[in-house]
């Protein structure tokens, strides 16, 4: 299953792109630990702090029962509002 991933702020800058499509059914993608999966996917993220959100809700994992309905995963660097 392909899934859109969107990157923000410092992370998009480090990667030099702000979105991509990924396949989440692979051996290297751990659906129970999104942070670790993306750190493995992109070496630039290894030392970075970020949160992950699935369809706009903060979470570090994918609910495998509903994974076919996922629209996007967001990779969010530290917040700086206010």
């Amino acid at each position: 299953m392909k899934c859109k991933v969107i990157y923000f702020g410092l992370i998009a800058e480090k990667l030099a792109f702000d979105s991509e499509e990924i396949v989440i059914e692979t051996d290297i993608f751990d659906k129970s630990n999104l942070e670790l999966s993306f750190k493995k996917r992109h070496i630039q993220l290894t030392e970075m702090t970020f949160k992950t959100a699935v369809d706009g809700v903060l979470t570090n994992k994918i609910d495998t029962e509903n994974q076919s309905q996922i629209k996007e995963i967001a990779i969010l660097p530290p917040f700086a509002g206010g």
């Binding site: 702020g9 706009g56 809700v57 660097p77 530290p78 917040f79 700086a80 509002g81 206010g82």
Partner: protein
Amino acid sequence: MERKEIKNCFKIGAISSVFIGESIAKHQHKKNIGAHQIFLGQVRADILGEKEVQAIEYSSYEEMANSEFDKIREEAFSKFDLICMHIYHSIGVVKAGEICLFVFVSSKHRKTAQQAIEFLVEEIKLKVPIFGKEIFADNSHTWKVNN
């Protein structure tokens, strides 16, 4: 069932003093209000190394941010006896000295409004996915992180 419309809390650029003043004036006809409390976040000209911040360029995961603003609003209304609540955050470039966050609550009594504003500002800083690029005079930049 009717789907609830999520309000857009973002304003492009700085939040003007005129907008803030007009927001206050609009509440004069609500005569059950006894206290307004306002928080204004202002872009600070921090010195980082030897460089001074000239502006912050705000970006956001806007769909999630507006949803988070909505949840925070709902929680504040459930926790505090408020009559009105308004939240606006800038998106795009805001120069040092300009306003980037405007939180405005109204209640019958001052303590309620004071407690609500403290809650709202802390929740916004913690939960809303907004990112800030601090821009220096030489056009270099760094990324702001909330403490």
